[in-house]
């Protein structure tokens, strides 16, 4: 898609200093995957939230500081990533799907 930010979503309009943002993109073979179900699991493995990746494969969560796992389900495959989020910062992660 024209004009899409490379990597994460634009944080325009968000007071990043007050949030703990985790965001990134879902790809398969280097191509963005839209419509992927991205789950955010807490350090204990419990479900916290789920969003659908955008037309450009991107997603975003407003979390809390700590360790999180992101797990993606899509008709095209599955993927997983673990991140450590920090208060007032945007943590970027890219998740590559495997069939």
């Amino acid at each position: 898609m024209c004009g899409a930010t490379v990597g994460g979503l634009s944080t325009e309009g968000i007071d990043v200093a007050k949030e703990t943002v985790i965001q990134g993109s879902v790809t398969k073979g280097g191509t963005p995957v839209s419509g992927g179900y991205v789950r955010l699991l807490d350090a204990g493995g419990d479900f916290t939230a789920e969003v659908v990746s955008s037309a450009t494969g991107q997603f975003r969560f407003f979390a809390a500081p700590g360790q999180w796992t992101l797990r993606v389900l899509s008709p095209g495959g599955r993927g997983e990533s673990t991140v450590t989020a920090v208060d007032g910062q945007v943590t970027e992660t890219d998740i590559a799907l495997t069939s």
């Binding site: 007050k18 479900f47 916290t48 939230a49 659908v52 407003f62 008709p75």
Partner: protein, 278 residues
């Protein structure tokens, strides 16, 4: 007692009933634009905020308002209404409970909702169906499945209180689900004596409900005395509608109420007890 198939349909059943007269598919989402990007063929949209909430007061639309809405959507009281949506059916479950509050007989949820349908690469369309207007008649709102704040306060230490939010919302670390911005004014924490059994524990990864045996083990394992009066709550009553569905419709528990005021009301009340921590 009702059986699971009276309240829940699977994607195969749905695919085989898309054109069955008397069966109406209704999509209900938090992200109301999802319907425009593609929906189950023949499905109509209900907007949980614009269509189901009073535009001024914090409450449901009244009986006449619901009658007007469902008449415009071309739904009759005899129809089998099959609800589905995104977010693991949160808002579809909310609408299910809402249809039951107003006495619709035959409502069912699509097991797994929009996610399961999409993960199975089943067809979606952007065509909006034309359904002729009906003359829908709702029943007076039931209060036996809806809890209000005073009975919630009275239930502390007396009834099962089930907080179905994520552990971080329960402990007070987060104020909202993590896909939403966190800026809100009310206090964080939970209602004293509530047990935290996140709605998600009742669902599989693909959004379908776990088996009755698994569900019974889940609640009993968390110390819930099934059969005792129960109130479920979350932040705005949509995830707790999912748990209300599990307890009341799938497990057939007799007295289960959904507290739709939930944490956005309780966490803003002056003088009520609040607990923090796990």
């Amino acid at each position: 007692m009702m059986s699971r198939t009276d309240v829940l349909v699977d994607t195969d059943w749905a695919a085989n009933h898309l054109e069955t007269p008397g069966v109406v598919f209704v999509e209900v989402d938090e992200d109301v634009s999802a319907y425009d990007t593609g929906h189950i063929p023949g499905a109509v949209r209900v907007d949980w905020r614009e269509d189901l909430q009073d535009p001024v007061r914090r409450d449901f639309v009244d009986q006449a308002g619901l009658e007007q809405l469902l008449s415009e959507k071309g739904i009759t009281g005899d129809d089998t209404v099959v609800l589905y949506g995104g977010n693991n059916n949160w808002f579809a479950a909310y609408a299910y409970w809402y249809f039951k509050v107003y006495g619709h007989d035959d409502v069912r949820l699509l097991d797994g909702g929009r996610k399961k349908w999409e993960l199975e690469s089943r067809p979606l369309t952007t065509d909006v169906p034309a359904r002729p207007r009906t003359d829908y008649r709702a029943k007076p709102a039931r209060t036996d499945i809806r809890a209000f704040r005073d009975e919630v306060i009275a239930a502390i230490g007396e009834q099962n209180l089930i907080d179905v939010r994520s552990p971080d919302e329960f402990s007070g670390k987060l104020l909202a689900p993590a896909h939403l911005p966190q800026e809100q004014s009310q206090r964080a924490g939970h209602i004293p004596t509530a047990r935290n059994i996140p709605w998600s524990k009742a669902a599989n990864d693909d959004g379908t409900f776990k088996s009755d045996d698994e569900l019974t083990a889940l609640y009993e394992g968390a110390g819930v005395e099934l059969g005792k009066d129960t109130i479920a709550y979350c932040r705005i009553g949509e995830r707790s509608a999912h748990t209300w569905f599990v307890l009341h419709e799938l497990l057939g528990q007799p007295n289960v109420k959904n507290y739709d005021g939930s944490w956005t009301e309780y966490g803003s009340l002056v003088g009520v007890p609040v607990e923090k921590g796990a």
